[in-house]
Each structure stands twice: as C-alpha cells, then as structure tokens.
Subunit: 217 residues, 3 copies
C-alpha cells in the first residue's frame, strides 16, 4: 500500500464523513416519507450512508473502515436523528432527497477514487470504484424501499460520478495529488448531476433496430 | 485479536449454529408459503441462516467462518429439509415464521456482539454489529421475496436486538465475559421481541411538523 | 493456499472471463428490454457479470480478483456495449436472456468450485460455492429489476449448477485436476439446464400435508 502518492488521507476522511452524513440524510428522509418508524429511519440512514464505502472497501479487499472508526457511525446516527426530529427543516433546505443524494454522490466518487489509488489500483479501477462508492448507497436505498434503483432509470446519475472520479484519477496519473483536484472532482460531479436534474437530461436507450419481427416486415 | 477476554468461543459457536438453524427454519417456511420448490426452500433457508453471520464477518474484516466450518452448512441444510418435508409439524409448534425469526434474532445479536468484542472492537461497534447479525438474514429474506424488510416496517425488531447485544457489551466493559451474560442477553432480546409481537407495540413515526405547505396555512 | 493440486489457473481465468462476458450479456439484454439507458445497460452488465465471482471471493475470504485484473472489467464493458448497440444481433443468436444465463451458469459453477478447491476448501464447500458463483449474478439482476429471483421460482436452475460443480469436486477428490473435468462439468450443467428449460421441468413444491386447519377436518 502506497499512501504517499495519494490525496491527503485526512482530507479523504473528512470528505468521507461528510458524504456519509449527507447520504444518511437522503436515506433518513426517504424513510420518513415512507412513514417508517424511528428504527427504520435510523437503519435506512445507516445503510445508505455506509453501503457505498463498505462496498468499496470489500471490493478493494481491505476491512471496511466503518467499524474501526466511530466517526462514520456517529455521522449516520446524527443524520438519522436529524431526519426523524427535524425533517421539515431538512426539506425546507431543499425539497428533495435527491439534493442530498447529489452531494453525497459528489463526495463519495472522489473519495472512492482516491482510496482506490491509495491502495495502488490503476486509474480505470479507481474511476469505477469511485462511481460504485457513490452509487452503492442510493441503489440499496431503492432496493429496500422496493423501487428500481435510480441509477438504472433514465437519469444522469452514474455519468457525473464517473466524471468526478476521472478528475482525481487523471490528476493522479499526471503526478498531482493536490487536494484541489479532489474538490474540483466533487464540483464537476455535483454540477453535472444538478444540471441533469434541472433540465431533465436523459441518456439514450438502445437503438430500436427493428426487432426481428417477421410479421412487421 | 484478543480472544482471552471474551465469551467462551465454544458457546459462541454453539449459539451461532443454533441461530443459523432457526433462521434457516424461518427462511425455509417463508419459501414453503411462497410455494417455492425444494431448491428455493433450501436456498432461502441458507440465505436467511447465513446472511447475518457472513455480513458480520465481512464488516469485521475476517473471512466468513461459514465456509470453513461445515456445521453452519449442515445447520441450514437440515433446516431446509425439515421445512420442505415437515413444514406442517414446524407450523404446529408455532404458526409463525416470526417465532423462529425471534429466536434467531436473540441468539445472533448476542453472538454478533461477542464476536465483535473478541476481535477487539469497541462496545458501540459490538452492539451495532450484534444488531446487524440478527437483522441481516431477515432483511435479505424479505428483499428476495419482494417485501419491504420487517425491520423497516413499524414493529419492534431492531430494538430487542440492540438491547440483547448491549447486555453482552456492557458486561464485557464491566470486565465480565461470563456465559451467563450471553444467555441473559438472548433472553432479554427474546422477551422484548415476543412482547412486542404479542401486544403489537410500534415505535413512533416522525412527528408531523406541518409540512411546509403554504396553501394549508 | 495450495494451487498445485487444482485445475490449471490459466484455464480458470479464461473460463471466468468468458462467463463474466456471457453473464454480462444476459444482464445487458435484460436492461435493454427493461428500456434502461446506456448507463443502466452498462451497470446491469457489470453487476450480473461480476456479482457471482465477487461473492465467491468474499465468501472464501480473498480480495475479489475483479479489480486487480482488468480483464473482468473489460469483459463486462464489452458485453454492455454489445447489448446496447447490437442487441438485435444478440437476440437473433438466441431469443433469450436465459440462453446466455445458462452458459454463464455452466462456466461459473465450474470455476467457482475450482477456485474454492484451489484455496483448500473441502468438496462440499466447493460444490456450494460453485453453485453460488453461478447463481449470484442472476439473483442480483432479478432483485434490481424487481423480480423474484429465477432460482427461487420453480425451474431447474440451482440443480445444474450443483451438478456441474460436483463433477469438478468429485474428480478433485479422486485425485484428478485435469482440465477435462472442468469442461465436462460445464457441459453437464449446460445440458441439464437447457433440457430443463426445453421441457419445462420443475421441481416439486413442499407436500401439502393438510394444513392444520381444524375447520377442515
């Protein structure tokens, strides 16, 4: 493991804790809206906040940091309590679960890529792991609430995560691990995601190449 | 890893195998009721019986014991066969999948916490991992059968698991790893869970703080 | 880890990459049919192609090979692109997602069992891990698209995987790790699966032993 040539570990931790908290908010809010009780709110906050990072660590092959480092548990605990007791305040900040989801996505795609690079994985792997870290929590939230995951529906969701992670991975490949690239990557992801939400950008579906339907020809 | 200051490993294994078996029964019975075939019954017994412990081990960062120790596989295999060939007997013991689920929950919350403590994790982590170990199997069962997981619905489900795990973690913090605390923790969990089921105890949902609906004011 | 007494590692890798590709096709095709966009197609191809092997490695307790070895990512990437841009060609080869699913199942059950044996696990564990490797991807595909997993519905799905893995495990126990047994195991699995699909073979559901309904007696 080579931690020298990577983004400052303390910055990664700080961004990770922040991402865990906002994803926790998105999970907790979704739970409040689904009329779950306080345990459901806490559980969903924890699952959504922690799933991305745990998945990343398991895929890298390192023990998940979550249960070694109490700050992550504190972050999701706080997020769950805030959602339960002050959800109307949270919703007033912005109406949407998706707003917090977008911030969490932006932070996690950057920290996921940085963590992968810190463990010596290549640029392609780092970009994909960055996207997985960002996407994992939201996917699990949707599965648990029995919706088809947002990333699979026609919205711009994985693309911003891949873009944000790419900023970090490309800067790393070019020899720079400045914290500025992590911030830039998160900003790139957030801007693309919010613009996509604002203007309802969708990606193309597979071209209809005339299904092989003999009757139609 | 410090196994000296923890509950007797043999007791943990015995309780784990027992929990795996009864969770296997709950999974197998759910499969029988959903009219699945014998493979579906065996698979669901295995998934529900093993998911909690596997999740715990992955979160701790140790290879899952399940596939190193044939007793766990034997336990879910036996549970699946019993459910398939003698489900009416099982149901006569108690009508409900939830009864076996409650016993599994009680045993796993204790063994999950004990295992976490044995690996040197702190009390908070041990309590949460105990709850996860107990909850994991049932969550996966519900997701596979396309129900919103029981723990997210308004019932007393995670609370008893947290309480049972807390007994073990608090005793450990106080310097005692007597097996009696493991038994006591399981009993606490089981009693709370069964009382909650009997009297239909539910937890509060988030307070309705007047949704910010301008038309309504 | 004893790699001497196991099937040729290069053969395992080749079969694994091939299985990853065809499972990727099955995931990508399912995504195209569900009208997902290109990201949804790529994600589903990746999830279905990689989930089985990742699960196997996590259960064995070794870091998932997927992110250390770019060939797996290349395989699912290629599968996703093929599905998106040429799905009608793919569908003309055979109408069904299930055809590619069957090939992936056959390859993965063999490589899963071989990998488990290579890590020194016993024959029973190897057979079960072979089946899990084969089944995992399809289960996750169905959960994400909100269907009850195919393996839990009444079709011959896990049985061929268990049979194919058994060929490898039994040959290994008898002292032979010839590549021929891997090929034979995959063929056994594929033939049983395709025959099962062709003739609509189903497994028995649990016997109806007169539900304990006092009114009915």
């Amino acid at each position: 493991m080579n931690l020298d040539k990577s983004v400052d570990p303390m910055l990664i931790v700080a961004l990770n804790v922040a991402a865990t908290f906002v994803f926790g908010l998105s999970g907790g809010l979704a739970a409040v809206r689904a009329k779950l009780d306080i345990v459901g709110v806490m559980v969903l906050a924890a699952v959504v906040g922690l799933a991305g990072g745990v998945t990343r660590d398991l895929l890298i092959g390192t023990p998940p940091a979550t249960f070694r480092d109490g700050r992550y548990l504190a972050a999701v605990g706080a997020a769950g309590l805030v959602c339960f007791f002050a959800h109307s305040v949270i919703e007033r900040v912005h109406r949407s679960v998706l707003f917090f989801d977008a911030i969490g996505l932006s932070l996690f795609c950057v920290t996921g890529a940085s963590t992968a690079l810190a463990f010596g994985l290549g640029a392609t792997q780092a970009i994909i792991l960055g996207a997985i870290t960002g996407i994992g929590g939201g996917m699990l939230r949707d599965v648990l609430l029995r919706e088809v995951p947002i990333v699979l529906r026609s919205e711009l969701y994985a693309v911003p995560a891949l873009a944000g992670a790419s900023v970090v991975a490309i800067a790393h490949a070019a020899g720079s691990n400045s914290a500025a690239w992590a911030v830039a990557g998160a900003a790139v992801c957030l801007v693309i995601r919010l613009l996509g939400m604002r203007y309802g950008v969708t990606l193309p579906s597979a071209p209809e190449e005339r299904r092989s339907d003999p009757d139609a020809n």
